[in-house]
């Protein structure tokens, strides 16, 4: 009962936040810029063209009315038309959102896969070099500019070692020579649906570097959280008992201690996903990844406000929903959360 009430309250609060977010995006994208009509009318507009644009964009209406129109359009998934390409933004989003989500999911998985074992190792060798190296690594990951890390990885793995592709989502031979049928726009899923293992493998190699860039910071957090949870649990009685029974060290660590230290994993998933959605702006430009980040960075240069607003809205809503789901999951795992 308490749980249900908690879920309901969190959901209502999230809905309010989404309304607030819509309002703020409206203000920043439609009210702050000096003259949206001139941008909409295209390069070197005449006075009449600007006037026509003002009418089309409904700029002369009072603010509350404009906000109502804006909110209604957003709610119905109508993000308007790009100033620059004149294409429907909703159509563009359908093509770009899956690419970004694919990257976010992959990098989250990578962060857990790297961070948790390192955290276990650091806890098992507390105070010794793996621990020290790990904690330095996690501090360094915070200080590393995302865009710089991306370039270093490109330099080392693509340029010097030549073992991973430099950029893009698929190799040219596959993207142009033998293209995949587009079903979901998730390359990995589309490759599996088409039964094309070559394309699947190719897509994975393209994912590694951008995903690794985005995974570095959350992996550091995962490491720290796992480490401190493990240190606490390694002192508990059942672990001591397992050790007295003569079980092997890996079995104690991974079989008996780690399952009890998985609490932070949920936190890391939320954080990593959020970080990937934000970092996408920087990483996608560098890896020529055809997702929302690259879409929005091109829009920035063109002052294409409807596109910037639409991407901000969509990503923020993903973010809010993700946080809501994590909160609910945490309450399900640990009912004390709902009571606090």
């Amino acid at each position: 009962m308490e749980l249900l009430r908690y879920i309901l309250r969190r959901t209502v609060l999230s809905a309010f936040v989404v309304v607030g977010v819509t309002f703020l995006v409206f203000i920043v994208a439609q009210v702050v810029p000096s003259d949206p009509a001139a941008l909409y009318a295209g390069p070197r507009p005449t006075a009449e063209q600007i006037e026509k644009a003002r009418q089309e964009l409904n700029l002369d209406a009072p603010l509350p009315a404009r906000f109502a129109t804006f909110a209604a359009a957003m709610a119905s998934g109508d993000f308007g038309v790009s100033y620059k390409s004149r294409r429907l933004i909703a159509e563009d989003l359908k093509a770009y959102l899956p690419a970004t989500l694919e990257l976010a999911v992959f990098s989250t998985g990578l962060a857990l896969l790297i961070g948790i074992p390192l955290g276990v190792l650091a806890a098992a060798r507390q105070g010794r070099w793996p621990d020290r190296l790990g904690s330095f690594g996690s501090i360094a990951a915070v200080a590393m500019p995302t865009f710089f890390l991306a370039m270093i990885l490109q330099l080392v793995f693509a340029q010097w070692l030549g073992i991973l592709p430099l950029s893009g989502r698929l190799s040219r031979e596959i993207a142009i020579g033998a293209p995949l049928p587009v079903v979901t726009n998730f390359t990995l899923v589309d490759a599996l649906l088409a039964g094309r293992l070559d394309a699947f493998g190719n897509a994975v190699t393209h994912l590694v570097l951008p995903a690794l860039t985005l995974a570095s910071y959350p992996a550091g957090v995962a490491m720290r959280l796992t480490r401190s949870a493990m240190i606490e649990i390694l002192e508990r009685r059942h672990v001591v008992a397992a050790r007295t029974l003569g079980l092997s060290e890996p079995r104690i660590l991974f079989g008996h201690a780690l399952p009890n230290a998985m609490g932070p994993a949920l936190t890391v998933i939320g954080l990593s996903f959020a970080y990937a959605l934000t970092g996408a702006v920087l990483v996608e430009i560098i890896f020529a990844w055809p997702g929302l980040g690259r879409y929005v960075s091109e829009a920035i240069l063109a002052k294409d406000f409807p596109v910037i607003a639409a991407v901000t809205m969509v990503v923020t809503i993903c973010y809010v929903v993700m946080n809501l789901l994590i909160d609910i999951a945490q309450a399900l795992v640990d009912p004390r959360v709902a009571l606090s």
Partner: protein, 279 residues
């Protein structure tokens, strides 16, 4: 010196030294830079994209300007960026948090729900949207980041005030008929100041990183003013063949942010505070 090392540990002390070194370099850029004119933006077409050498320790950029001098001049922009973002954010966040915590009730509710809206955004995206709306430029990019930053201070200040509000000396002041603004200014603000200042100092590094990300996206200061993030972006066209162009300023951002981060870690072990996600 011994006392300092004792308080901060060796990593913390080294980090503090690095931060102070950059402050010094920023302050005296024209006297330290080997080519002050190029640092300020004057082209030097005879030495375009020269690799690191005895003349140009870190190489030159596409206009032949000495990268070391550009980095030294860029220190000014980056450090002021970091400090001003934090200062502007305190300027908004502190009053909001003080008012919410002190008055409580519907004022608290309204202010904090508003704060939630700002926190619901992925910070970099809101900053990008804001910077795009305001247009590029030094001050605009600082405002854009501060808009995403202040809610943290509002929350922190509110939490501090909630504790202080119930203190006997505050109640005594109120019973003695002291006005609300005066109680806030004279009795509450001084006590909330210290934890907030510590947090703010720790945040200069992350703030500087976010500003670098914005200028990497072309939303920071305008050329010819030297700026690290913008240099990394400009060098991308020549990367990896002329790696030094992007790598040197990129490495500089990393070193400065790392110094702030290590210093923050050393302080935090004694004073508490949280790490901010990087951009």
């Amino acid at each position: 010196m011994k006392k300092l090392v004792h308080r901060l540990g060796w990593p913390g002390t080294i980090a503090l030294a690095v931060v102070l070194l950059f402050v010094f370099v920023g302050l005296f850029a024209p006297w330290i830079a080997p080519y002050p004119a190029q640092g300020a933006g004057a082209p030097n077409v005879l030495a375009k994209l020269a690799p690191p050498s005895a003349d140009y320790w870190l190489g030159t950029d596409h206009l032949g300007r000495d990268i070391l001098s550009r980095i030294i001049y860029g220190t000014r922009v980056s450090l002021t960026n970091g400090v001003l973002i934090v200062a502007f954010s305190l300027l908004i966040g502190l009053p909001v948090g003080l008012a919410a915590g002190y008055f409580g009730g519907w004022i608290d509710e309204a202010l904090m729900r508003g704060t939630d809206v700002f926190l619901a955004f992925p910070a970099l995206l809101l900053a990008v949207l804001m910077a795009a709306a305001l247009g590029p430029g030094f001050l605009n990019s600082i405002i854009a980041v501060a808009v995403t930053w202040w809610p943290w201070y509002a929350r922190l200040a509110r939490a501090e005030v909630l504790v202080l509000r119930g203190q006997p000396y505050v109640e005594a002041a109120r019973l003695a008929g002291v006005s609300h603004p005066r109680i806030i200014a004279r009795h509450i603000l001084p006590a909330t100041g210290r934890p907030l200042t510590v947090q703010a100092a720790l945040d200069v590094g992350p703030a500087l990183l976010t500003a670098a990300a914005l200028s990497f996206l072309g939303l920071g200061v305008l050329p010819p003013t030297a700026d690290w993030g913008q240099m990394v972006d400009a060098g991308r066209k020549f990367f990896p063949a002329r790696w030094w162009y992007s790598a040197m300023p990129g490495l500089t951002i990393f070193i400065v942010a790392l110094a702030f981060s290590v210093l923050g870690d050393a302080l935090r072990e004694r004073k508490g505070g949280t790490v901010r996600a990087p951009a």
